[in-house]
């Protein structure tokens, strides 16, 4: 059924801290590693060792330069994957019922046995979170590592999405955003977590924590630090003047 559930009590999702992300792409690699060998078909690469390599990824990191009116620019690394929207347009457009949102935890998944590879769900997604696999011809997207988070065959600390487990900076958090008392919900409240493209009306579950304001004015570092020489340099300066 590609109708959306009325509402889901549990809303599993990610909280991504743009203040902490260092742009190392470890989440991209670990996501590809886990998901190419588990849920559904592999995440294929085309021309992997050739001149024009390309492949399917469920998580990618963009890097932006934010330029304030005055002062230095700020580099922001921006990981992006499926936001498991409450009003997910990718689900309702699907003609075959392959695309669905789980009532029990709100995860948006693709049943590859039903996907005909029309690509309409990718067109309907504002975030570019779905990629049609170029070899297998089915739509791939973040599963929130549904095969890890409930998996009792792996140690408890590993029962989080692969990207979260891997992040060396602790910039990715996983939890229930439907529960206002969960760690992730409190983090979102404390840090002013935000939605991407709220105007699209998709009501994303994943939240992004904005970069913190700089504690020192960023243009302070642009000031010349040695305007007048002191000590040894003052003596050298004088000695060289006299020569």
């Amino acid at each position: 059924m590609t109708s959306l559930p009325q509402s889901t009590e549990t809303k599993l999702g990610l909280v991504i801290d743009l203040d902490t992300c260092v742009g190392c792409h470890a989440c991209v690699v670990s996501c590809k590693e886990w998901n190419t060998s588990n849920y559904g078909t592999a995440l294929s690469d085309v021309d992997a060792y050739g001149a024009e390599p390309q492949g399917t990824f469920l998580n990618r990191v963009n890097s932006f330069e934010a330029m304030p009116e005055s002062g230095c620019s700020q580099t922001v690394h921006f990981p992006k994957s499926c936001l498991h929207c409450e009003d997910a347009p990718c689900v309702t457009v699907c003609p075959t019922g392959a695309s669905y949102k789980r009532e029990e935890d709100g995860i948006v998944l693709v049943n590859e046995a039903d996907c005909m590879g029309c690509g309409l769900c990718a067109w309907s997604c504002p975030y570019g979170a779905r990629e049609l696999d170029q070899i297998f011809g089915v739509m791939k997207k973040c599963t929130l590592c549904v095969d890890r988070i409930y998996n009792e065959n792996i140690p408890e600390e590993d029962r989080v999405p692969s990207c979260v487990r891997t992040c060396p900076a602790g910039a990715r958090h996983f939890g229930d955003l439907g529960d206002p008392d969960s760690d992730v919900s409190r983090l979102v409240a404390a840090r002013g977590g935000m939605d991407l493209m709220p105007e699209m009306g998709t009501k994303p579950v994943n939240k992004y924590l904005p970069p913190r304001l700089k504690d020192a004015p960023s243009d302070a570092t642009l000031e010349a630090t040695h305007k007048t020489p002191e000590g040894l340099f003052a003596w050298l300066d004088k000695a060289l003047e006299k020569l």
Binding site: E65, Q74, V76, V93, C118, A122, M197
Partner: protein, 289 residues
Amino acid sequence: MHPAPSVILFTTLSGLGFGLLAFLGLGLPPVTGWVAFVFFCLAYVLAVGGLLASVTHLANKKNAIKAFREWRSSWLSREGVFAVASLLVMAVFAIALVFFDIRLRTVGALGALLSLTTVFTTSMIYTQLKTVPRWNMWTTPPIFLLHAIGGGALLAGQPRLAAVSLILLGFLMVWAWITGDEKGLGGTTMETATGLGRIGKLRLLEPPHSGQNYLLKEMAYDVGRKHAQKLRVLSLVFGYALPAALMLLFTVHHTTALIAILSHLFGVAAGRWLFFAEAAHVQRLYYGK
């Protein structure tokens, strides 16, 4: 958006085919016997040919049959259901008319309604996408419907109706182009896409990957925009103005009709190319485009 030839062919041909079917269902022209057979063959070749072209665009064709399932929520599924329903209903009408010389008026009218509804469902596949502001406009469904009615009338030998529809369509196309240009990405910016507008203006420092990928190929298509104005003029002149003039100013016989139809097809194909090539998807903002 990537102007896939299969999708351009599909929307152009099947729109025309369903338009012609709608007219035949209403008894315009009032053909019977072998003449009716030829008309129906043409309509079916166009409609079914277009549908088959659209199937070639699927990456996993073996599941295409499952596309009829989700008509409750999906416009693409509804399109499939209505397309098959109109082809079947019109087949009953056509067989009765061609082989038994019986005109089943109610069946024909129902078939005509279903045919036009099919074209409407096609238009809604595009209209529903908030992510492509140029498609997400009230003009999209009437544009698709007028293409079917105008083109169908040309094929069905209804010169007055064809001319009126095509002239109306020409004005609507210009209106849609202008409002589409003004709308741009409809207020969505790199700043709203990332939430980083609170710091300042944004620029892409480094894309997430150095090579191509599906998203860039499919949704950040740039070729063809360069010639947008020329293509718009070509589309207006050949798609609507010339056929409308031929229908109004000359006595219509087979040669003028053929010229009008070929000119219309060429113009519509150019316009459809633009419909895709010019349509910008908001996710291109993540690539700084």
